[in-house]
């Protein structure tokens, strides 16, 4: 495991140099955006004056139209200049950081965990209507193959309002990091570990309700009361579920849950481990209106990455005491 000291050294020796041209570019972009903004404001004001916006009978239509066009032009300019900057930042900085963890790791800012793998996890049974993602990382950490990326899955609902117009509404199923690893024990079947909302809300009655969740398979009651309070476990086999969720793994999962401080969904399907950690923010994005030459910023990217590459150690996935190599 790399320490913060290692990271500081790496930052001084490698990252800083790579960050300098990006920082110059960022400043240029901010300047360009400021000028664009000023010019557009000027034009909007000009149009407003010319169409008599400040007279007694202001032409509201012309004012609003020029304002909307102005904002759209600004947004377009922002999108064009920021996109190149973002891509360059990712391929320069994030890739270097990923390689800093392990030379063997592969990073692609455009790829994502495939939707087939996402569905195979059985964590979110609902088929998404829209599936996006970026920042794909994969490789082998010790004996364990891992891959993860940002994923955003959504489903849509359609409604018709009183005037007969159709509206499409998008609802998020999952947004965050989706992580897949090769598990250290061989097993078949499905075991799903979900945040336990029912038991927290309704106590004993909640447990009874969980017993009747037919879509998920059988409820599996485990011995660890702390674990039971946080998670509800469903599976197709009582023994397999306990073979996977040994008492020590349950403790490790609790530790990991505390470390993330976020809703945690997990599943174990045919010798593979799937973890979905919910995030609101978009990870590994560069800042535009603040300096890049700040170690704290790098530390933040590093911590987000370390949380996931650290899973292998946190859950002792490299311990191959069983027949699976």
């Amino acid at each position: 495991m790399k320490t913060t000291e290692d990271l500081k050294k790496f930052y001084r020796e490698k990252l800083y140099i790579a960050l300098l041209p990006l920082e110059r570019q960022r400043k240029k972009i901010v300047k360009v955006l400021a000028i664009t903004g000023a010019v557009i404001t000027f034009i909007v004001l000009g149009v407003t004056i010319l169409t008599g916006g400040f007279s007694r009978s202001p032409n509201l239509f012309a004012f609003i139209l020029s304002l909307i066009l102005g904002l759209a032009a600004f947004a377009g300019a922002y999108f064009i200049v920021a996109k190149g900057y973002k891509n360059q930042f990712k391929s320069e900085i994030i890739e270097k950081l990923v390689k800093f963890f392990d030379e063997g790791l592969y990073y692609n800012p455009e790829l994502r965990i495939t939707s087939e793998n996402y569905m195979a996890s059985r964590i979110f049974p609902k088929e998404p209507d829209r599936y996006n993602g970026e920042d794909y990382i994969s490789g082998k950490l010790g004996k364990t193959a891992v891959e993860f990326s940002e994923v955003h899955s959504e489903y849509k609902t359609e409604s018709t309002d009183s005037k007969g117009r159709r509206h499409t509404n998008w609802h998020t199923i999952f947004k965050g990091i989706f992580f897949i690893a090769d598990f250290n024990k061989a097993f078949e079947g499905v075991t799903v570990v979900l945040p336990d909302t029912a038991e927290k809300l309704f106590g004993f009655f909640g447990t009874m309700l969980q017993g009747y969740n037919f879509t998920r398979g059988k409820l599996i009651k485990l011995e660890d009361p702390e674990f039971e309070k946080e998670f509800a476990v469903y599976g197709d086999n009582q023994v397999t579920a306990r073979y996977i969720l040994s008492t020590s793994l349950m403790e490790k999962i609790m530790e990991f849950k505390k470390k993330t401080g976020r809703p945690l969904h997990m599943s174990f399907v045919n010798s593979r481990l799937y973890i979905a950690v919910s995030y609101e923010k978009n990870l590994f994005e560069p800042k535009l209106f603040a300096t890049l030459l700040d170690f704290e910023l790098v530390l933040e990217y590093y911590k987000d990455l370390a949380l996931f590459t650290g899973i292998v150690e946190d859950l002792s996935l490299n311990d191959r005491l069983w027949s699976k190599d």
Binding site: K221, E223, V239, A241, Y243, S246, W322, S323
Partner: protein, 196 residues
Amino acid sequence: MVQGWYKGGSMEKYFLLGIGIVFVVIVFIFNSLIVRRNQLKNAYATVDALLKKRYDLIPNIVETVKGYAKHESELFTGIAKLRSEALSGQKTGKNKEELDREIGGALKSILAVSENYPELKANGNFLHLQKTLNEVEEQISAGRRAYNASVNDYNNAVMMFPTNIFAKLLGFKPGDYYTVTAGERENVNTGELFKK
């Protein structure tokens, strides 16, 4: 007259409905008890199947270790005797549990002894057997935990009102949990022995 007859009819209807509901509730309670007892039996059979897997491993392990550690013959005959006793199926209940505990202990001591033979530790076949045994032991422990969970489920039904009334009528008695002895608790994870 006619009205009175109707009244009586509706009373009768309610009475029949009441009996119907009581009947459904009884069937439900009865079935839930049977389901739980069957689950318990099923969990027990699963542990048995896993123990059988362990018995099957014993000859292989003994054969492999024997080649390197000839002086430990006492251990080998001891475990062979325990194994044949277990396979004969004469012992049941607590006695069988005790026997399986002894087998687990004997296997552990064989593996502990093998620590003294570096050549044995480097043998690929032995390493494979060791991993397989770890896996079986882990599965047995999972099977026992599953068994205990079904005992818990079953005992709740047998002891709690109102299912306890029916349990008594049917002669269902609370089941025994599988317990870990103090000695076992000390070194539960045989895998720890092999960590370098």
